[in-house]
C-alpha cells in the first residue's frame, strides 16, 4: 500500500489540467475551434491553398484535446491499485498542493461535492476538520491509510472528499468523542459515504439511456383509448427516469415472486396485502420498471408488459348511473385483454369491493376474470380491509395470490428516507441533515399512527420540510416542530430561559391556584421536569398517578393546574367520570370510534394527545373497565374498538378516588403524618377488594390528599377572591376583604366533610351578590376598589 502522494503522478497532472480545460467556455471553444478549422480546411482546399492543411491539423488537435478532456481529464478514472495516487478522486487531486499537509487535505474537502454533502448533512465542514489536524506533512500518511480502509469498507469507487473527512475524524485520538458531541457515531459517517455514493450513482445513471424494448415494444402495445383515459400508465422509461429502488430485501423478494406468478400458468393475479406506508406502491413501481428493463433476465411472456393503475374515484365520477360503471369496467378490461401486454393495477383495491361513497362493488364482475386468469391484475390493499372482504366474500379472496408486505425496520427505513431526500429537497427547496432523518424515524414511530414504516417516517420528513431553519436546513428541530404543530404535543426539550424557569418553579405556579397537598404537587412536578429534560421512559405516559382523599381537597384542581401550567391551558384536559362506566359493556363506550362517540377516551386522546387525562371516581368503574385501562397505564397505548393504537405517551394520567377518605381523615385527626400511613391504606384498599393489586401497581405514585383545615380554607378563600377579581378586571374594579370578613366566610363555609367546595358557594352567595348590587346601583367607577367588611357580609347573608 503506497501512502505517499505524488504531485506529478499522471492522475494528479490530469486532474489539474482537467480543472483548467474542463471549464465550459474553454471546452466549448475547443469544440468550436475543431469544427471551424475543419470547415476552413475544406474551404481552403477548394481554394487550392496549402495553408488549409494546417487547419486540418489544428482541427484534429482540437478534437483530440476536447475528447481527452471530457473522457479523461474531467472524470480522471481511478486505477485498480492500492496506491493512494490511483484512488484519490479528481477533485481531491486537482486541489492538493505539492507536499500536502493534513491541513491542506482538510481545506480541500470543501471543494468536492461529497465534502459539501458532508458539510450540509453532517455538519462536518472543512473549517472543523482543519482544527482537528496538524500542519506536519508526515501526519498525512495515517489519514491516507484510514481513507483507503474506509474506501474499501464502503465499496466506494474512489477516495472522495467525504472519505477524507471521515478519515480525518477517525484518525484523531478524540474522534469518537467529537462525533458523540455532534450526536453522531463512526457508523453514521460510513452510512453517509454510502448514501453519497448511492446518490452519485443515480445522477451518473441519468445520463445513460436505459434499454427498454424500443420500437418493437411500442408496435406490439395495444390500442387502448379508454384505458388511457381512465388509467395511469406507471411504466415509464427513457433517459432521465430514475428506476425505483427497493431497499428492503423482503420487497425485492416480493418482486421476484410477482415475476414468478405472472410468468407461470395459473391465476394471473397478485394481491399485495399490507398496511399503508409499508411500500406496496413502491413494489408495484419497481416491478413495472423491471418489466421494461431490456437488460433484465425475464421470461419472455412478461417482458415489456406495462402496468396501468385504475382509480375507483375517477371511474365512479365518469359513470355515475347504475350499470354504467360495470359497462365501463368491462370495456376497460376487454381493451386490456386484447392489448395483450397490459397488467391492471387496482390501487386501494378495497374500494372496488365495497359499497359506499367513493367505492363500488365489482366482485361479481371481476371474479370470472380472476378465475379465468386471462387478464393480469395486481391488487394492493390494507390487511384490515382484506380480512373484511374475506369475511364477506371468501371465494374472491381465495382466488387471489396473496403476498404480505411487512413494514421496514429502522435500517431499511433510513435507506428509504435517504432515497427520498433528493425528491423532498427538490419539492421544498431545502437541505435535510442526518439528524432530521434520525429524528423523523424516532418521532414518527411515536406520533404517526395511520401509516407504517417506512411511509410514516417519510411523511414526517416531508412535513418537516416546511419548518426549515432560515439557512434552508431541515434539522431535528424542524422535525420536532412539525410534530408539535401537527400533533399538538410537546417534543422539544425545554431550552429557552422562560420554559426552564417555569419547570423549575412548577410547584410555585401550581400553588397559585391550589392550597397545600405539597407531596402530590411535588411528585407531579418532578414527573413533568423529567419529561421536559428528556430523561423519562418514552414508552409510557409522562406519569400515572392515583390521587386518594376526601372530596373538595384539590385532587381535580391539581389536574387542572397541571393542565394550565404545562399542557398549554386548562382546556387540554381529557376528563372522564368513571361513575358512568359501571357496567362491563361500558368498555365499548370507553374505547369507541371517534366517528361514533367523540367523547370516548380514545377519541378524545386521539384528538388531544398532549393533555392531562383525568379519570374521576375511578373506584366506581366496573373491573372490566379498569382491566382495559391496564395497558394504557403500563405502555401508554390503548387500542380503540377498531384496533387502532391510541398513544397516551404524551399524557399525564391522573385517577382520583374518594376510597379511604374516612381513614385518611381519621389519621389526620389523630395527628399522624400521611406519608407513614400510605402503605397501610393501599394494603387496606386491596384487602377490601376496592382495587386489585395489579391495578394499583400500575401507577407511578399513589398520592394521599389530606382534608383541609380552617387555615387552609382561609388560603382557599384568598384564591377564590383572586379569581373574582380576575373576572372583575374587565370592568376595572376590584374587591378587598378585611380579615373579619374572611373569618366569617371561613366560619360559614368550612365543612370538614366537603372540603373547599362550600367555600365557593358561600363566596358566591355573599361576596359576588354584594358586588353585583354595587355594580347595578351605579355606585362603582372604573379603578374603584370595593372594601368588604364583616358587617356587609352578615347583612347580605341575613337577607337570604
Amino acid at each position: 500500500m503506497n501512502l505517499v502522494y505524488h504531485y506529478n503522478s499522471t492522475r494528479a497532472r490530469s486532474a489539474r489540467l482537467g480543472r483548467l480545460l474542463g471549464k465550459k467556455p474553454i471546452l466549448y471553444l475547443c469544440l468550436l475551434l475543431a469544427i471551424a478549422l475543419f470547415a476552413f480546411w475544406i474551404i481552403l482546399l477548394i481554394q487550392k491553398m496549402p495553408l488549409g492543411w494546417l487547419c486540418f491539423s489544428g482541427s484534429i488537435f482540437c478534437f483530440m484535446i476536447y475528447y481527452w478532456t471530457i473522457k479523461e481529464l474531467i472524470p480522471v478514472p481511478v486505477h485498480d491499485s492500492n496506491d493512494i495516487n490511483s484512488l484519490l478522486s479528481n477533485n481531491v487531486l486537482a486541489n492538493l498542493p505539492k507536499n500536502p499537509k493534513p491541513k491542506d487535505l482538510a481545506n480541500m474537502v470543501q471543494y468536492t461535492n461529497s465534502g459539501r454533502f458532508f458539510a450540509i448533512r453532517y455538519g462536518i465542514s472543512s473549517k472543523m476538520l482543519a482544527e482537528l489536524v496538524s500542519n506536519l506533512p508526515d501526519d498525512i500518511s495515517p489519514i491516507f491509510q484510514n481513507a483507503i480502509k474506509i474506501y474499501q469498507g464502503t465499496q466506494s469507487e474512489e477516495i472522495h472528499g467525504a472519505i477524507i473527512a471521515a478519515a480525518i475524524i477517525t484518525s484523531h485520538p478524540m474522534g469518537e468523542n467529537i462525533l458523540r458531541q455532534m450526536k453522531l457515531e463512526v457508523s453514521d459517517l460510513l452510512d453517509g459515504i454510502i448514501w453519497f455514493n448511492y446518490l452519485n450513482g443515480l445522477v451518473k445513471g441519468l445520463s445513460r439511456r436505459p434499454h427498454s424494448g424500443g420500437i418493437a415494444r411500442d408496435l406490439n402495445f395495444g390500442y387502448i383509448p379508454t384505458l388511457q383515459r381512465f388509467g395511469q400508465n406507471i411504466s415509464v422509461y427513457g433517459k432521465g427516469h430514475i428506476k425505483t429502488q427497493l431497499h428492503l430485501a423482503s420487497h425485492r423478494e416480493i418482486v421476484s415472486q410477482m415475476i414468478q406468478i405472472f410468468s407461470n400458468q395459473g391465476r394471473q393475479n397478485v394481491a399485495l396485502i399490507g398496511p399503508s406506508g409499508s411500500g406496496r406502491s413502491t413494489i408495484v413501481h419497481a416491478f413495472a420498471d423491471q418489466l421494461l428493463d431490456a437488460d433484465a433476465k425475464l421470461p419472455s411472456n412478461i417482458r415489456f408488459r406495462q402496468i396501468f393503475k385504475l382509480d375507483a374515484a375517477s371511474l365512479i365520477s365518469a359513470a355515475p348511473e347504475p350499470g354504467q360503471i360495470e359497462a365501463l369496467l368491462m370495456h376497460i378490461f376487454n381493451e386490456a385483454y386484447t392489448a395483450k401486454n397490459i397488467i391492471i393495477w387496482l390501487e386501494n383495491a378495497q374500494l372496488f369491493f365495497e359499497d359506499g361513497t367513493g367505492s363500488l362493488d365489482i366482485a361479481n364482475l371481476i371474479m370470472p376474470i380472476l378465475e379465468a386468469g386471462k387478464l393480469r391484475i395486481i391488487l394492493t390493499m390494507d390487511k384490515q380491509k382484506y380480512l373484511k372482504i374475506s369475511a364477506k366474500n371468501s371465494t374472491l379472496t381465495n382466488s387471489l395470490n396473496k403476498i404480505m408486505v411487512n413494514p421496514a425496520n429502522a435500517k431499511e427505513t433510513m435507506k428509504v428516507m435517504q432515497d427520498q431526500v433528493p425528491n423532498l429537497e427538490y419539492q421544498h427547496k431545502v437541505s435535510y441533515t442526518i439528524w432530521a432523518l434520525k429524528e423523523a424515524y424516532r418521532l414518527s414511530e411515536r406520533y404517526v399512527h395511520d401509516l407504517e414504516m417506512p411511509g410514516r417516517a417519510v411523511s414526517l420528513l416531508d412535513a418537516a420540510g416546511d419548518y426549515a431553519l432560515p439557512n434552508g436546513l431541515v434539522t431535528d428541530k424542524s422535525v420536532q416542530q412539525a410534530v408539535e404543530k401537527t400533533e399538538g404535543v410537546k417534543v422539544q426539550q425545554a431550552t429557552d430561559q422562560a420554559s426552564r424557569a417555569q419547570l423549575l418553579n412548577m410547584e410555585e405556579l401550581i400553588h397559585k391556584r391550589m392550597v397545600d397537598q405539597k407531596d402530590a404537587v411535588k411528585t407531579v412536578s418532578d414527573a413533568l421536569r423529567r419529561s421536559a429534560a428528556g430523561v423519562r421512559n418514552e414508552k409510557r405516559p409522562i406519569g400515572t398517578y392515583l390521587f386518594l382523599g376526601p372530596t373538595g381537597v384539590g385532587k381535580t384542581e391539581l389536574a387542572k393546574a397541571i393542565s394550565e401550567v404545562y399542557f398549554n391551558g386548562e382546556n387540554n384536559i381529557v376528563r372522564l367520570d368513571l361513575n358512568e362506566f359501571v357496567n362491563a359493556n361500558d368498555v365499548s363506550r370507553l374505547i369507541a370510534d371517534g366517528a361514533e362517540d367523540e367523547m370516548s377516551l380514545t377519541a378524545q386522546v386521539m384528538k388531544q394527545p398532549f393533555s392531562v387525562v383525568l379519570l374521576d371516581e375511578i373506584e366506581k368503574a366496573h373491573p372490566q373497565v379498569l382491566t382495559t385501562l391496564l395497558q394504557m397505564l403500563d405502555e401508554g397505548i390503548l387500542r380503540d374498538i377498531k384496533g387502532r393504537e391510541v398513544s397516551f405517551r404524551d399524557t399525564i394520567v391522573i385517577a382520583t378516588s374518594n376510597a379511604g377518605a374516612e381513614k385518611i381523615r381519621e389519621q389526620v385527626n389523630l395527628g399522624n403524618p400521611l406519608v407513614n400511613y400510605k402503605e397501610q391504606l393501599v394494603n387496606d384498599l386491596m384487602k377490601s377488594g376496592e382495587f386489585k393489586p395489579e391495578f394499583l401497581n400500575r401507577f407511578d405514585e399513589i398520592c394521599l390528599f389530606k382534608p383541609l383545615s380552617p387555615a387552609d380554607c382561609l388560603q382557599v378563600l384568598d384564591l377564590i377572591i383572586a379569581s373574582v377579581n380576575k373576572t372583575l378586571s374587565t370592568q376595572k374594579i376590584s374587591i378587598t376583604l378585611d380579615d373579619d370578613a374572611k373569618n366569617l366566610l371561613v366560619e360559614k363555609g368550612y365543612d370538614p366533610q366537603l372540603g373547599a367546595r362550600p367555600m365557593k358557594r358561600i363566596v358566591q352567595k355573599s361576596v359576588e351578590n354584594l358586588v353585583a348590587k354595587f355594580v347595578l346601583s351605579g355606585n362603582t367607577t372604573p379603578g374603584m376598589s370595593i372594601q368588604i367588611t364583616r358587617s356587609m357580609l352578615e347583612e347580605e347573608l341575613n337577607t337570604k
Partner: protein
C-alpha cells in the same frame, strides 16, 4: 509533458474508451430498433387492433378473421419497413464506428501529415 500524457492516453485508455463508447451506442441503436423482437412479432396485428372480442361475441367469425388479417398485414409491412430502415442505420453506425476505431491510432499522425503537406504546399 502535456503532449506525452495526451499521446499516452490516446493509444491506451483513450482507444479503449472510444471503442467502448461505440459499443454502447451500437447497443442503444439495437435496442431502439429491436430488430429481433420485430422479427418475432412480424405477423402480429398492428398495435393489437382487431375486432376479435366484439365480433366473436356476435358470432361473425369471418368478419373477425378478416379484421385480424388486415391488422396483421398492416403490422407486417410496418415492421418490415422498420427492420429495413433500422438494419441500414445499424449497419451505417457499425461501419462508421469501426472506421473510427481503425482510424483512431492514425489521428496523431494526421496532424503531422497535415503540417508536412502544408509545408510542401500540396493542393488538390
Amino acid at each position: 509533458m502535456f503532449m506525452v500524457d495526451l499521446i499516452q492516453w490516446w493509444y491506451f485508455r483513450g482507444w479503449g474508451t472510444f471503442a467502448s463508447g461505440f459499443k454502447h451506442k451500437l447497443q442503444d441503436l439495437l435496442d431502439f430498433f429491436s430488430i429481433g423482437q420485430l422479427f418475432q412479432t412480424l405477423f402480429m396485428p398492428y398495435r393489437q387492433i382487431s375486432a376479435t372480442t366484439s365480433a366473436e361475441m356476435t358470432g361473425s367469425h369471418i368478419s373477425a378473421f378478416l379484421d385480424r388479417l388486415v391488422s396483421r398485414i398492416v403490422g407486417f409491412f410496418t415492421r418490415i419497413f422498420i427492420i429495413i430502415f433500422g438494419g441500414i442505420s445499424i449497419l451505417i453506425e457499425a461501419l462508421v464506428g469501426t472506421a473510427f476505431v481503425v482510424v483512431w491510432p492514425l489521428l496523431p499522425f494526421l496532424i503531422v501529415i497535415g503540417i508536412v503537406l502544408a509545408v510542401m504546399g500540396v493542393t488538390f
